[in-house]
């Protein structure tokens, strides 16, 4: 089998202790929670941290708090997020997203924080060391060139998190803790459109929780495009959240696209939809406009032009579901599960 490189292992008893260790170890240390992203990456020598700081087993990262909104500990497994009644009932987009990450086994191990911080992906990067040697490596790791776009000055690896588009559509904020202190920011601001430096998180910071605002009046949905009904990362994610007046007039809306850039794309759907009703015509018009923001590259599964062509259809699915349509039959065909 593929083997891990050597590393030091820390198992702190608290977030504070983890933050101290992280500060002491410096940027050569990495955090590990479920390990479902990091361990295979280490086997392929994408990351070769000198030390790992384990967050697994820290009870303070596993809290779920209902208040004005919902606060989720970053250490909750994706399976725990899926099983949360508040998430299922009030934050449908997050439920749809978390339930479609990878496989049941990986959702039992992988955490919400891990999925939010998921390394960007690329078919030239997510390969073994030996494979990458055969292409003389790439810009993201050990090489110079971006083989997806050889003229590109930056890495175009793809943001492949399912939960982040959903959380951004739901207005999430995140808390980052370091030995220096604590800061909060909009989740959308955690990301940068750069396949290598895709997070604005500093290496000494720990993502501890994700806070969602009150869901009253909002309806949301997440639609994922991938080849199969399980296992695959998204090649397109569409999260839609809509707040409408009793007569159906949209008061506020967010549509976030995933897996079509190095970060989730928060679109201008709010401006486009405000004051309108979600008629079929409006959905079609907005879907076409929103879709123009999707700039897929040839570095994921499925054909690049086709992936761009189907964006409006997926935006339409998400908006129709947020409008209240029964989308179960379509969902069965696309996702192979009713959700």
């Amino acid at each position: 089998m593929m083997r891990m490189p050597w590393f030091r292992w820390h198992a702190p008893k608290s977030v504070a202790e983890a933050a101290t260790i992280l500060a002491d170890e410096g940027p050569q240390a990495m955090l590990i929670a479920g390990g479902t992203d990091l361990v295979p990456n280490m086997k392929r020598r994408h990351q070769e941290p000198a030390a790992l700081v384990a967050l697994r087993g820290l009870g303070e990262l596993k809290r779920i708090a209902n208040g004005a909104g919902l606060t989720l500990g970053a250490g909750l497994t994706l399976a725990e997020v899926v099983e949360s009644r508040s998430v299922r009932e009030n934050y449908r987009a997050l439920y749809h997203a978390a339930a479609q990450v990878a496989t049941p086994q990986l959702r039992n191990m992988g955490t919400l924080g891990g999925n939010v911080c998921l390394d960007t992906r690329c078919t030239y990067y997510n390969q073994s060391y030996e494979w990458r040697k055969a292409i003389d490596f790439c810009m993201k790791k050990d090489g110079e060139t971006c083989w997806v776009a050889t003229a590109s000055k930056r890495c175009v690896a793809v943001s492949s998190t399912d939960t982040a588009p959903a959380l951004i559509a739901l207005g999430a904020k995140v808390r980052l803790v370091s030995a220096e202190g604590t800061r909060e920011l909009d989740l959308a601001d955690l990301y940068a459109n750069d396949g290598m430096e895709y997070l604005t998180r500093r290496p000494d910071e720990i993502l501890t929780e994700i806070a969602l605002p009150a869901a009253s009046g909002w309806k949301s949905a997440y639609w994922k495009l991938r080849r199969r009904g399980s296992f695959d990362f998204p090649v397109l994610g569409v999260a839609a959240a809509v707040r409408a007046a009793p007569d159906g007039t949209v008061e506020d809306a967010r549509i976030v696209l995933g897996a079509v850039a190095s970060r989730p794309i928060l679109t201008k759907a709010g401006e486009l939809l405000a004051g309108k009703r979600l008629t079929d015509e409006v959905i079609e018009e907005v879907a076409a406009k929103v879709a123009s923001r999707a700039k897929p590259m040839d570095n994921t599964d499925l054909e690049i032009y086709w992936r761009k062509e189907v964006v409006p259809a997926f935006v339409g699915y998400a908006l129709r579901e947020a409008r209240g349509d029964d989308m179960r039959a379509t969902r069965m065909r696309i996702a192979r599960q009713a959700l």
């Binding site: 089998m1 078919t123 073994s128 199969r228 009904g229 499925l302 259809a313 696309i334 192979r336």
Partner: protein
């Protein structure tokens, strides 16, 4: 030896009854030990250093740093292996470790044997190989256009490995006389086996000094021969044990580089040496489905009967010969088996490319032309306004007939299969009436039950069985056949038990061990049930005669009046005259001494006598019909398959649970090929890089169906016992895969009126075809051209009905 045993009885205790397979318990509870589960004291671990170049000359290999690495015991290179190997005698073109040339990314060049896997992996990076990169060839079209540099210095010419042509009757003349001639191009992308078990091998030296290799192989006998050749040892000093395979599907038929490496290392070091390939390495070992470009020119009468067919194929062989010579034949030879085809011309060419070698995968060479043939038939039916099922039913090959190409068809249940699939699916009432975006497609297939000729030329049995009984009533059956998950151990136990009137769990099965078991050629070509089964029935009949003789004496009756059933031996006329099976064995042992017997089987001689007539003949052919329902989203091209109905002519289902499992497993694999599986490669921009790499060598990125993607499958087993087969049982492991891909293509046409003439059928292709349809263009996605291939002059043979005698007609066509 050729004549199979007469059916021993007509009423069965075991045969036909659904029951738990004999190895089911161990596999279900995790007790089954696979090769990677094996460990021995003082065992060392091997890793292979592989080429990062798709094509390069090796200028030097320096292993000194690796050799000096702490924990490393041995480093092997090509210099340690002067003798080449290859599964087929005509393609001995591989070395365990490359000597002068590497031919694809992943070609092994050196091996490190170390105290553990981690240490061996670390030392790989210390091996310094100087390469001189050479131009690469990525496709057969490119290989035809660039004869130089040659990937191998043997073959037909340039980079053509195999090139052949056969013509059975004057095809151009028949096409000219036809009411219609349909010409279609198809492409079938390559794909790989993806067994759950990665290849693993453990070599050790036994107490008597002989080499023991325990390994995941489908063909211990062929591997055994190749080990003797490469290691320059008498094969009697080598023992190969095929450890229960966690899936093979053809991927473990070829001897693997790693098997020679650990064997050599164990001989050098005197310590056990183990290797387990990573998943990525399994993609490089490959030997999977050849990518094949096909051109069909088919003549039909106005009522839809075939008049003649001219089939041309072009195979992407990858970097080595592997089973390629056979694969090349199989892209055509089974084409005439399902429908009456008065004349047939078949040209095939296999080209070397700088990619992992292609070889046999479930259906070996046949799924590709079957896809083209069955999609073209659907087009013909539509063009002529015929029901595709009715059209097929009117031109089925007849039982006990010869094809134009001199294959003898014995039993055939294809008509019944079509009728059953039509009935189960509601074809007549539902086809074309399912509403927008929904459709039904039908396709059929035929496959062989065992290759009629061995891979190396000989006149010896293809399978042999030894039975040993003792006074405790223990029945042990020995056979070289290899359990790869298909259930061959259960078939062996079931047949032996049926013949002796005992329970299958009373039979101890010992298989796949060249040190103990009589030779069986291996688990390939759907040959095991028929060949091993016939050998087992012969062996069982021989011990039964001994038991009947002794029992008759004790029961005061005649031996031919003795019956065996339910663990008892009794007189047919008077069941009160009986003894237990154990008592009968003891009586026979007292009378004759130790009770043992052997049985063996070789297939009938093929009727064709021309050179090349050895590929295609089989003791029997299985037939399958499949109807598939699909839903296509016109906005995205997204394809959903809610249900598949499949009827398979199995002759007789020995264990219906197992048979159904094989059929459903075939559907699963076929649907994966139809929808998504691709062993695809990529080049980088040529100005910047000469790389030619596998696109997706991992289980995540190489897409095959998950449990979530598998539709409901309704299976019907059509049972018309074949006299050449044990109790009439034909194959079920490969044939049912073949109709699934064309059934999907045909269903998509029924749903949205577009033709996807290539596999896999992905949503982008469907959407592209729908866009063409909307613009009024030909609503089709598929290959646009077939290159000029320098096929040789065909071997011309007259069909049986044109006065042929099965020999080549020299001097070309009759007037």
């Amino acid at each position: 030896m050729n004549a199979p045993e007469k059916p021993l009885k007509t009423r069965f205790d075991t045969v036909g009854k659904p029951r738990r397979r004999v190895d089911g318990r161990a596999k279900t509870i995790g007790q089954q030990r696979f090769a990677d589960d094996l460990a021995l004291p003082r065992m060392l671990h091997a890793k292979l250093a592989r080429s990062p170049h798709a094509h390069a000359a090796i200028e030097s290999v320096d292993v000194s740093r690796a050799q000096a690495h702490r924990g490393v015991h041995l480093v092997l290179t090509g210099a340690d292996f002067p003798i080449p190997y290859g599964i087929m005698p005509v393609s001995q073109d591989e070395y365990p470790l490359a000597r002068e040339r590497v031919r694809f990314v992943g070609d092994p060049v050196a091996a490190v044997i170390a105290v553990d896997e981690q240490t061996a992996a670390e030392a790989l990076d210390l091996i310094e190989v100087k390469y001189r990169p050479l131009p690469t060839i990525a496709s057969p079209e490119e290989g035809l256009a660039k004869p130089e540099p040659r990937i191998h210095d043997y073959g037909e010419q340039g980079n053509i490995h195999r090139n052949q042509a056969y013509e059975f009757g004057d095809v151009e003349e028949a096409l000219a006389r036809s009411d219609h001639v349909f010409e279609d191009l198809f492409f079938y992308e390559g794909n790989t086996h993806l067994p759950l078990e990665q290849q693993a091998s453990l070599a050790s030296i036994e107490g008597d000094g002989k080499l023991l290799l325990q390994t995941s192989t489908q063909n211990p006998h062929y591997l055994h021969r190749q080990l003797g050749r490469v290691l320059q040892m008498p094969t009697a000093h080598i023992r190969v044990m095929a450890i229960a395979n966690g899936g093979g599907f053809g991927g473990k038929c070829d001897p693997g580089n790693h098997e020679f490496v650990v064997s050599k290392a164990a001989l050098v070091l005197g310590r056990p040496v183990k290797i387990c390939l990573t998943r990525e390495e399994v993609f490089y070992q490959h030997r999977g489905r050849h990518p094949v470009l096909m051109k069909f020119r088919t003549g039909v009468t106005k009522d839809g009967r075939l008049t003649a067919m001219h089939l041309q194929t072009l195979l992407d062989g990858g970097a080595y010969g592997s089973h390629g010579p056979a694969s090349t034949f199989y892209t055509g030879v089974l084409t005439p088996v399902s429908y009456e085809l008065p004349r047939f011309k078949f040209e095939a060419c296999r080209v070397f490319t700088n990619k992992p070698a292609c070889g046999p995968k479930r259906g070996h060479g046949t799924p590709q032309p079957r896809f083209g043939q069955e999609v073209q038939l659907d087009k013909i039916a539509h063009a002529l306004g015929l029901d595709p099922a009715e059209m097929r039913l009117k031109m089925l090959t007849k039982p006990d007939s010869l094809t134009a190409s001199w294959l003898r068809i014995g039993s055939t249940g294809l008509g019944e299969c079509i009728e059953k699939a039509v009935e189960m699916s509601g074809w007549k009432a539902r086809r074309g009436k399912l509403g927008p975006g929904r459709g039904l497609g039908l396709a059929c297939s035929a496959y062989m039950c065992g290759a009629g000729v061995s891979i190396y030329w000989n006149k010896l049995p293809h399978s042999a069985v030894q039975l040993l009984l003792d006074r405790s009533g223990q029945v042990t059956v020995y056979c070289g056949a290899t359990e790869i998950g298909q259930g061959s151990d259960d078939v062996l136990a079931g047949l032996t038990a049926e013949a002796l009137g005992i329970d299958p769990v009373s039979v101890r099965v010992v298989t796949g061990d060249t040190g103990i078991t009589p030779i069986d050629l291996g688990s390939y070509s759907s040959r095991v049930t028929i060949m091993m089964g016939n050998a087992a029935l012969q062996a069982a009949a021989r011990v039964r005669d001994l038991l009947a003789n002794a029992a008759a004496e004790a029961l005061d009756t005649l031996p031919d009046r003795i019956a065996f059933s339910q663990e008892r031996v009794f007189a047919v006329e008077d069941a009160a005259k009986s003894m237990s099976f154990v008592e009968a064995v003891a009586a026979a042992e007292a009378k004759f001494g130790t009770i043992a017997s052997v049985g063996s089987y070789a297939p009938p001689k093929p009727p064709g006598k021309f050179k090349g007539a050895g590929v295609g003949p089989s003791p029997a052919y299985s037939f399958t019909a499949c109807v598939l329902e699909t839903e296509v989203d016109p906005a995205t091209g997204w394809v959903t398959v809610p249900k598949i109905w499949i009827a398979h002519d199995i002759g007789r289902a020995l264990n219906p649970v197992l048979a159904r499992g094989q059929v459903i497993g075939s559907v699963y694999m076929g649907l994966g090929e139809a929808l998504m599986e691709e062993q695809a490669f990529r080049r980088l921009p040529p100005k910047l890089s000469s790389a030619l790499v596998h696109r997706n060598p991992s289980m995540l990125d190489y897409k095959s169906l998950t449990h979530m993607d598998m539709p409901e499958v309704e299976v019907a087993l059509i049972e018309d016992p074949d006299p050449n087969c044990p109790y009439g049982a034909k194959e079920a492991g490969q044939g049912p895969l073949l109709p699934v891909m064309p059934a999907l293509a045909n269903a998509i046409h029924d749903a949205v009126g577009v033709r996807i003439d290539e596999v896999p059928i992905t949503p982008d292709k469907v959407l592209a075809a729908l866009a063409k349809k909307a613009k009024g263009e030909v609503p089709r996605v598929g290959p646009e051209r077939f290159p000029a291939v320098p096929y040789p002059e065909p071997t011309f043979v007259l069909p049986p009905w044109e006065g042929g005698d099965g020999n080549e007609l020299k001097g070309r066509k009759a007037a």
